[in-house]
C-alpha cells in the first residue's frame, strides 16, 4: 500500500511542478526532495549534494559535451548543405524524399556517438533547416528525428549497452555486435513508415528536387566525402584501438575543427559561438541529469522500482507473458525515469527473473535498449523531447504527438525481436572475436 501511495505522490508532485513551468532539472530535484523527506528519515541535503556531485563530475559524461560541441562546429560549416547535396540525389526519388536524410543521418551518426541526445543535436541542427526550407511536413521532420536519434543507443558504441553489460556481467563487445542488425532494421522500419505516409498523406507537397543523371549523382556524392572522412576517423580510432569511446568524441571535435578550417568557415567568431552554444546546451542536459540522479536516489530509498519489479516476479508468468509484463513495466517506468536509470534500479530483481525464464541475456540487452529508446520519447520525462523542445521551440505535446508513430514502430520492433531473436543473436554468435 505504501507503494501505491508513493506512486501517486510522485506523480502528483511531478506533474504539478512540470505543468506549472518549473525548469525540468529543478522540478526533478523538487520531486526527489519530497520523496526522501516523506518516506525516509535520511538527511536530504547531504544525500542530494553527494549524488549530484558524483553524477556531475563523472569522466564517462565528458563524451556528451564533446559530441555536442562537435555538432555545434559542424552546424557552422557547410557540412549540412554538403550532406544534403550528397544524400539528396539518392534519397530524393524514394517515396518520402528527403525526410529519409533524418533517418540515414541519425543511423550514420549513431555509429560515432554513444548517446541519443548527441545524435539528435548534431543531425537535427543539420537537417531541420534544410527540410523546412523544402516544405516537408513539420510533424514528420520532428517525429522521425526524435525516433531515429534513439538509434544512438542501439547502434554501437552505446552508453546504454555499456551500463547494461556492466550491470548484468555480460560481454559489452557481444552486446555491441548484437545491436548492429536490430539498429539497422529499426532504421528500415522508420524509413518504410516515412514512405507509407508520403504515399497516403494529402499534405505531402515538398519542393521537388531537380532530376539528375546517374553520373551527376555520383559526382554529387563527393560532397559526402567530408562527412564520411570524419566518421571513418572517429569510428576507425575506436575500432583500431587508438581511442576509447570517450576519446573518440575528442577526436570528433578536432576532426570537425579541421573540417571547418579547410572549408574556410572557422574563424574566432564562429569558434566562440560554437563553444558558447555547446556550453549552454550541455549545461541544459547536465541540469536535468543532476535532477535525474537525485530522483533516482530518492526512488531507490522509497524502494518503488524494486517493489514493482517484485510484483511482476510474484506473478509466475510464462516466457512471453513475462516479456509482455516487462515491456509494459519499462514503458511506464520510462515515462518518469531516464532509461539508463530504470535499468540500473531494477536489474537486480529483473535479471534473476530473466535468467530463470532461460532468456539469453545478450538478446535481453537489446530488448532493454529498445525499451530505453522508447523512454527517450515518452512524456513527461523524455530526453529527446526536451532536446527537441530546446532546438525547435515547439511545445512538448506537439513533439510527443509527432514522435508517437516512432514509439509505435519501436513496440513493433519488440515483437520482431521476440519472434525473430536471431536478428540480435546471430552476429555476436558468429563473430566471437573483438572488432579489431
Amino acid at each position: 500500500m505504501t507503494e501505491l501511495y508513493a506512486i501517486v505522490l510522485f506523480l502528483v508532485v511531478l506533474f504539478f511542478l512540470l505543468g506549472t513551468g518549473v525548469w525540468v532539472g529543478l522540478a526533478l530535484m523538487g520531486v526527489a526532495w519530497v520523496g526522501i523527506e516523506l518516506f525516509t528519515t535520511r538527511p536530504v541535503g547531504d544525500a542530494m549534494v553527494t549524488t549530484i556531485w558524483a553524477s556531475s563530475s563523472s569522466w564517462t559524461l565528458t563524451a556528451l559535451p564533446l559530441f555536442i560541441w562537435m555538432g555545434e562546429i559542424l552546424f557552422r560549416t557547410r557540412l549540412s548543405e554538403d550532406m544534403f547535396k550528397g544524400l539528396s540525389p539518392w534519397l530524393a526519388k524514394l517515396p518520402g524524399g528527403l525526410v529519409h536524410t533524418n533517418i540515414v543521418g541519425c543511423t550514420v551518426f549513431a555509429a560515432v556517438s554513444g548517446s541519443s541526445a548527441a545524435t539528435l543535436t548534431t543531425v537535427g541542427k543539420m537537417s531541420i533547416p534544410e527540410l523546412r526550407a523544402r516544405n516537408y511536413p513539420e510533424k514528420m521532420i520532428i517525429g522521425t528525428l526524435a525516433g531515429a536519434a534513439t538509434l544512438g543507443l542501439m547502434i554501437p558504441p552505446s552508453l546504454a549497452l555499456i551500463v547494461y553489460g556492466v550491470t548484468v556481467n555480460e560481454s559489452i563487445t557481444k552486446l555491441f555486435f548484437a545491436g548492429v542488425l536490430p539498429g539497422l532494421f529499426l532504421a528500415l522500419m522508420f524509413m518504410a513508415y516515412v514512405a507509407f505516409v508520403s504515399l497516403t498523406s494529402k499534405n505531402w507537397n515538398p519542393t521537388v528536387e531537380r532530376n539528375m543523371s546517374f553520373a551527376d549523382k555520383l559526382r554529387n556524392s563527393r560532397f559526402l566525402l567530408p562527412v564520411f572522412a570524419l566518421i571513418s576517423v572517429v569510428i576507425g580510432s575506436m575500432y583500431l584501438g587508438f581511442a576509447t569511446a570517450t576519446e573518440a568524441a575528442a577526436i570528433g571535435v578536432i576532426g570537425a575543427l579541421v573540417l571547418a578550417l579547410l572549408q574556410g568557415s572557422l574563424n574566432w567568431g564562429s569558434f566562440q559561438q560554437s563553444l558558447m552554444g555547446a556550453m549552454r546546451t550541455s549545461a541544459m542536459i547536465a541540469l536535468i541529469l543532476a535532477g535525474a540522479a537525485f530522483l533516482k536516489l530518492s526512488m531507490g530509498f522509497t524502494g518503488l522500482p524494486r517493489a514493482l519489479a517484485d510484483g511482476i516476479a510474484g506473478m509466475e508468468l510464462s516466457r512471453f507473458e513475462l516479456l509482455m509484463a516487462l515491456l509494459v513495466f519499462y514503458i511506464v517506468l520510462g515515462m518518469f525515469l531516464d532509461g539508463i536509470s530504470s535499468v540500473v534500479l531494477t536489474m537486480a530483481v529483473v535479471e534473476p527473473m530473466v535468467r530463470d525464464a532461460s532468456i539469453d541475456l545478450i538478446w535481453f540487452g537489446i530488448f532493454v535498449v529498445v525499451v530505453v529508446e522508447m523512454a527517450q520519447i515518452t512524456p513527461p520525462i523524455g530526453f529527446n523531447l526536451f532536446v527537441l523542445q530546446g532546438m525547435t521551440d515547439h511545445e512538448m505535446g506537439y513533439i510527443t504527438k509527432a514522435a508517437l508513430p516512432m514509439f509505435a514502430i519501436m513496440v513493433v520492433m519488440v515483437f520482431v525481436l521476440i519472434f525473430f531473436p536471431d536478428i540480435a543473436t546471430w552476429l555476436p554468435d558468429n563473430l566471437r572475436q573483438g572488432p579489431s
Binding site: 526532495w33 569522466w59 565528458t62 541540469l287 521551440d393 505535446g397
Partner: protein
C-alpha cells in the same frame, strides 16, 4: 543600481566563459591522455581532471544558460494564460527554483566544508584534495541561485523576467 546590474551581468558572462574554458580543458585533457598512451607515457589522473572540468563546465554554465533561455521548461500553461496570472505563475516558478538553488548551494557549501575538514582526497591516481574541484559546485550553485533571484526580483518590480533566446539558437529553429 546600474552598477549592480552591470556587475551581475558581468558575473553571468564571466562564469559562462569559465565554463566554456572547462569544456576546452576537457578536450585538451583527453587528447593529452590519449597521445601520452600512444607514445608510452603516463598521465596519471587525467580521467579525474576531465571529470572535474566536466563539473566546472556544468555548474559554471547554469546561470548563463538560464539567462539565455537554454534550460527546458513545459510552457503550455504559461503560454495559455493572460498576462496577470502568467506573471503570478512565473513568480512561483522563479521563487521555487531560487529556493531549490539556494537550498542546494547551502548544502553544497557544507558538503565541501566537510570534504575539507575530513581531508577527503580523490580515490583515483590524481589524489586531489576534493574540496578544491568541489568548490565549483558551490560557486556555480550560488551564481545560479543569484540569477534566479535576480530574475524573480526583476519580475516582481518590473513585471517581466530577463530570459532571452539566443539569436543563433533561433536561426536554426525557424
Amino acid at each position: 543600481m546600474k552598477a549592480l546590474r552591470k556587475s551581475l551581468d558581468a558575473l553571468y558572462l564571466i562564469s559562462g566563459a569559465l565554463a566554456a574554458m572547462c569544456l576546452v580543458a576537457i578536450l585538451l585533457l583527453i587528447v593529452v591522455q590519449m597521445v601520452a598512451r600512444w607514445t608510452g607515457e603516463v598521465f596519471p589522473g587525467a580521467a579525474s581532471y576531465a571529470g572535474y572540468a566536466m563539473a566546472g563546465a556544468s555548474f559554471l554554465a547554469f546561470a548563463n544558460a538560464l539567462n539565455r533561455g537554454s534550460h527546458i521548461r513545459v510552457s503550455i500553461l504559461l503560454n495559455a494564460l493572460p498576462d496577470g496570472p502568467k506573471r503570478l505563475l512565473d513568480i512561483w516558478c522563479f521563487g521555487l527554483a531560487a529556493a531549490i538553488a539556494w537550498y542546494f548551494t547551502y548544502y553544497a557549501y557544507w558538503f565541501v566544508y566537510w570534504s575539507w575538514k575530513f581531508n577527503e582526497v580523490s580515490q583515483a591516481q590524481d589524489a586531489t584534495a576534493l574540496w578544491i574541484p568541489q568548490s565549483v559546485m558551490v560557486v556555480g550553485g550560488a551564481i545560479l541561485a543569484i540569477a534566479l533571484t535576480d530574475n524573480l526580483l526583476t519580475l516582481i518590480v518590473k513585471g517581466e523576467h530577463r530570459l532571452t533566446r539566443d539569436i543563433v539558437d533561433q536561426s536554426f529553429g525557424e
